[in-house]
Amino acid sequence: MLSKKIIHLIEANALQLSNEIQQRLLTHPSTSSYRDIDEKTLHAWIYDVCSRFSYWLDEDRERGEVEEHYRNLGKERFKQDFDLPQVISALYLTKRRLWEFMAASREPDSALNLNQIVEASFLLVRFFDHVVLQVTEGYEEMLLSKHGYEAPLSKPEQLAQALEAKRKREEVVDEEPKLPTLCFTKGMIRLG
């Protein structure tokens, strides 16, 4: 795999990257809740992603570890009273720093090196897309279990009703416009 070299570079620099990401989370206005987390715990979480990056990227779908881990993270952050947008912002700030690090290793004249970076970016983006989705689903599960809130269209019967309403709307649009019936009587036209 082309991107192996770059991914190993992230792992080799995991400590420095984790420190930088931690500082961003602690100072960025969109992640202010992270200031309430124990710094060692926060650092350990970020370091786990950076130091085992190839492990997380290679995670096969059968094992489902990313799914379980990040779904639980979403639940955990809910219990810790974090707003979901803050959790998502923290994930994106992490991704951004990792991407900056990857992109900084670019050699503009080397197609091989640039291919490695593009391939690594694909893995990075796919991983964080998956993570953000799992965190959101975990958080939504807690909204349901703690507050009984469930988005209406999650419920099959409400989804079916909404689809039926859409079908009816479309029927009205598709219908041929009806012309009034003309009834001829002597000297006048009466609209039927």
Binding site: S30, D83, L84, P85, I88, S89, Y92, K95, R96, W99, A103, R106, P108, D109, S110, A111, L114, N115, I117, V118, S121, F122, V125, D129, V132, L133, T136, E137, E140, L143, H147, Y149, E150, A151, P152, L153, S154, Q158, L159, A162, L163, A165, K166, R169, E170
Partner: protein
């Protein structure tokens, strides 16, 4: 070259919007999107692809992303969509751009690949912000509802 990549997406906006609309309407991960009027769904997607250059390069000054996507988040909440489906749809919108670029095979030379690295930076920055603000708009609407 970066502009060329963006223009390629903008020039294919109609086809791409149609393809993604069909995908969202049939994907088991986004069933709520089947309840939107097809035309509105198409226009929402077309709006992103046909003005990609604006969103990626020029909006930084105007700052339309926070207001636009917060409003979409609040709207989807009002319509009863689960948030993870909204996030999924935005991820699919981004992925379709990348898939199209790969399909067109315009990343062969070092120069093209170098531009692709810039493109990835701008594309992800935009979609990260779009997903963040959509979530924020949805979450605020949810809080308003649970508070009232």
């Amino acid at each position: 070259m970066l502009v060329k990549l963006i223009e390629m997406i903008e020039n294919n906006a109609e086809t791409m919007a149609g393809e993604l609309k069909n995908k969202l309407l049939t994907d088991p991960a986004t069933p709520s999107y089947q309840t939107l009027d097809d035309r509105i769904l198409y226009e929402n997607i077309f709006e992103v692809y046909s003005r990609l250059g604006y969103w990626l390069l020029r909006d930084a000054e105007k700052g339309e992303v926070p207001t636009h996507y917060s409003a979409i988040g609040a709207q989807r909440f009002k319509e009863g969509f689960p948030l993870h489906q909204v996030v999924q749809a935005l991820v699919a919108t981004k992925r379709h751009i990348w898939d199209t670029i790969l399909e067109k095979g315009i990343m062969r030379t070092a120069k093209e690949l170098d531009s692709a690295v810039d493109f990835i930076t701008y594309l992800n920055r935009f979609f990260d912000m779009a997903i963040y603000y959509t979530t924020l708009g949805y979450y605020r609407a949810l809080n308003l509802k649970t508070a009232s």
